[in-house]
């Protein structure tokens, strides 16, 4: 193992200083800090939850079924691409990460570049949804969304953009229904769930290690007992990935921004996104943990949905695979495995600076991500891919 573990905020501190503060300096520093904390506390007390607005880019509800909704974003500039892009996030977390704040919004950037955008929201699954499987989400809801987008946009096939678990859904869909997909983009998407073993980097892929270590009967029993996997369960798991960061968040990270309203609101927006963690339907979670994390069926072309085998070689449309170099939740190598498996030579990768969330909100990624994705969509806008025919 090397020491390239996820760092905490203190890693950004200057090199260890050995300068001793004088008594007067210490008093002055303490006074300044006290003043900041007082002002910050006052500011925090004035902010209401509705002030912390996320996902504000205007959009319209165009389709829904059960708890799943499909929205179409209102164009901000004349469309440059004829074929729309459907954004699909996973069941762990929510798509709002792509539109967290006005000045750091992948969604806004794509709209401003003339891409027609739709987004699917899985809603808040309840215990009544515990028996929903990945088959239902991919072959059912996602399939319906694709059909709706195609109909509303007047095209036969559309572009897909899947993120994280939603990237796996997207990949499976593209493999099962290649004739309905014009081009596929993925971000932070695990394909080979065991690829972390070879690199074995400290702090990277802990979820992979942890899930593999669980006896299958424990996973079964967990889901039998809880029905759904609670969102807080995943939240605790993510916190465990960055233990010191979690410990320091409310002590230092917040204090660092508390005297600046703009930065404080942005920090609170991230908190709001983190807090919005829906429960994961139990049967889909069972597939996610056992068939993917433990048995690694996707990259082995052994996963079956609705009785159909997901063969990655059936992905014959152009593919753009985006990942974060410092992503400790979905290590880059687990994403890059896709390139070896798809059935097209039109495969591109984009490695962005940042981690799992950083590539969406980080300053450098903002300048790179949307332009690259829009360029990918535009380049593939006029090409009609034959796709596979139904047998």
């Amino acid at each position: 193992m090397n020491a390239a573990a996820p760092r905490n905020s203190f890693s950004k501190a200057p090199a260890l200083s050995t300068a001793l503060l004088s008594g007067a300096d210490a008093v002055a520093t303490s006074a300044r800090m006290g003043s900041r904390m007082l002002a910050g506390s006052s500011r925090l007390g004035r902010i209401r939850d509705e002030d912390v607005d996320i996902a504000t880019t205007p959009k319209d509800l165009v389709w829904s079924q059960d708890k799943v909704t499909l929205h179409r974003y209102r164009p901000l500039v004349p469309a440059r691409a004829r074929i729309p892009l459907l954004v699909t996030y996973g069941l762990i977390g929510r798509w709002t990460m792509t539109d967290l704040q006005d000045d750091r919004s992948l969604v806004r950037n794509l709209l401003n570049l003339g891409v027609e955008l739709y987004v699917v929201d899985w809603g808040n699954p309840s215990r009544a949804d515990r028996y929903l499987t990945m088959d239902d989400y991919i072959c059912g809801y996602l399939d319906q969304c694709v059909e709706a987008v195609a109909r509303l946009s007047g095209v036969a096939k559309i572009n897909l953009f899947g993120l994280c678990e939603g990237g796996v859904f997207t990949t499976c869909y593209a493999a099962l229904e290649p004739e309905r997909v014009n081009a596929m983009a993925l971000a932070i998407t695990p394909i080979d769930f065991h690829a972390d073993i070879a690199r074995n980097r400290l702090g990277f892929g802990l979820i992979n290690v942890w899930t593999r270590s669980l006896p299958r009967e424990d996973v079964d029993r967990l889901i039998d007992a809880h029905g759904n996997v609670p969102g807080k369960f995943f939240g605790a798991m993510f916190n465990q990935l960055t233990p010191m960061r979690t410990a320091l968040k409310y002590n230092f990270d917040m204090l660092d921004v508390i005297d600046d309203e703009h930065r404080l609101l942005n920090w609170l927006r991230m908190e709001k996104w983190i807090a919005d963690r829906p429960d994961h339907p139990g049967e889909a979670a069972r597939q996610w943990m056992i068939e993917l994390y433990q048995q690694n069926k996707l990259v082995r072309n052994e996963l079956e949905l609705d009785g159909r085998r997901v063969d990655l070689k059936r992905i014959i449309m152009p593919v753009l695979n985006v990942f974060g170099n410092e992503d400790h939740i979905i290590p880059a190598e687990t994403s890059q495995a896709l390139g070896r498996e798809v059935g097209t030579d039109d495969y591109e990768e984009l490695a962005l600076p940042g981690g799992h969330v950083g590539i969406f909100v980080g300053g450098r990624s903002q300048r790179l991500f949307a332009p690259a994705l829009a360029d990918f969509v535009l380049r593939n806008d006029s090409v009609q891919h034959s796709g596979a025919s139904h047998s």
Binding site: P58, V62, Q65, F234
Partner: protein, 364 residues
């Protein structure tokens, strides 16, 4: 959390903190012993052979004697886990005393902010109790372990006894997992003290304030991450998750027996309904897809432009268009040239871009 010592009296604070942790360690051990004894006493009657058991079978009314044989409460493992934890707590107290003394003077020279943060962060109990956000170290299993208590449902003693047995198992696993976490803290503390000494010797002065915290967090982060991948951590965390799951199931059994008595729907019954509904919807979906595959429409039209208010065409299940409040855009279009993604060389494919091998088989 213990009260923070006043900055102007670090020695008194150190003593107070140390005494607190020693007391906490002793109290933890005593609590385990008391709990074990209490459970043994309370359930002695349940697990001793019932008086009726000695009667000839013919004298017993059919079904009158419940099956109490769910295994005896072996409290020894719990006591052992408690003992181990107590010993670790005492070691932690000693280490904490050293840490606190070593860094207090340096911290005093830094900011109050850093000093308070450091003091809180090196407290061993914070690693176990969830204070300071350290519930993350307990992880998902700790979250799952927090279930409702059913202390008053004594009419279903057999089920209740299972609940307590499950609770004992879960609590033992929690202690064992806590001991692994505490060991990580001890190691982090030792490594930190070593690093601190080395740096102080090299520079002639001890790091202060926030730089001191940077050193501590770097060391602690590394140790925690290594511990989380270790076999003992993974094994004890899995055991904690397993036993907390069993506790939840045992609790549900009690609740469902109670609900059944009053003709209330149970979780299991609701699950049965949901399973049926989901299966029916799935069948419907498969039928719809089969129908669609025979009538794939070809569509072509112009996508809506910005000045047009989008109006959805008829959908499978149409919903009213609900416009989100329009906000002024504050984001300008990204003007930088798009980066060139890496085009990855792939091994030659036998079929190239041709249609993939057909293997579609509609599932039932």
């Amino acid at each position: 959390m213990s009260a923070a010592p006043k900055p102007d009296n670090p020695d008194a604070g150190t003593r107070a903190m140390t005494e607190f942790w020693r007391a906490a360690g002793d109290a933890a051990l005593q609590a385990q012993e008391d709990a074990a004894q209490a459970f043994s006493g309370a359930f002695a009657g349940f697990f001793a052979p019932p008086a009726t058991a000695s009667r000839p079978a013919a004298e017993k009314p059919a079904g009158a004697t419940p099956d109490w044989n769910i295994g005896s409460f072996d409290t020894l493992p719990l006591a052992r886990a408690g003992q181990a934890m107590s010993e670790l707590m005492l070691s932690a107290s000693a280490l904490f005393e050293k840490l606190f003394t070593a860094v207090m003077a340096a911290a005093q020279a830094g900011t109050t902010h850093a000093e308070a943060g450091f003091r809180a962060m090196i407290e061993p109990n914070a690693w176990l109790t969830g204070a300071m956000g350290f519930e993350a170290m307990q992880g998902p299993a700790a979250y799952l372990a927090e279930g409702p208590k059913f202390a008053d449902l004594w009419t279903v003693e057999r089920r209740q006894a299972r609940v307590f047995k499950a609770w004992l198992d879960m609590h033992r696993c929690r202690l064992e997992h806590g001991a692994v976490v505490l060991k990580a803290w001890l190691k982090a503390g030792q490594v930190f003290l070593g690093d601190l000494g080395t740096r102080t010797q090299a520079d002639g002065r001890a790091p202060i304030g926030r730089t001191l915290l940077a050193l501590w967090t770097e060391v602690a982060n590394r140790e925690l991450l290594e511990t989380q991948r270790s076999e003992p951590f993974l094994r004890t965390q899995a055991a904690l998750m397993r036993t907390s799951t069993e506790l939840k199931l045992a609790q549900r059994e009690v609740v469902e027996a109670w609900a059944d008595q009053f003709d209330l729907p149970t979780r299991t019954e609701l699950d049965d309904v949901h399973r049926s509904v989901t299966a029916l919807r799935r069948e419907l979906r498969l039928l719809q897809r089969e129908r669609r595959n025979h009538t794939m429409p070809a569509v072509a039209a112009t996508p809506p432009q910005p000045e047009q208010v989008p109006k959805p065409a008829a959908a499978v299940r149409e919903v009213p268009v609900r416009a989100a409040p329009m906000r002024p855009s504050t984001t300008r279009a990204a003007t930088t040239r798009p980066p060139k993604p890496t085009r990855v060389a792939k091994r030659p494919k036998a079929n190239g871009r041709a249609h993939p091998p057909g293997h579609r088989s509609e599932g039932a």
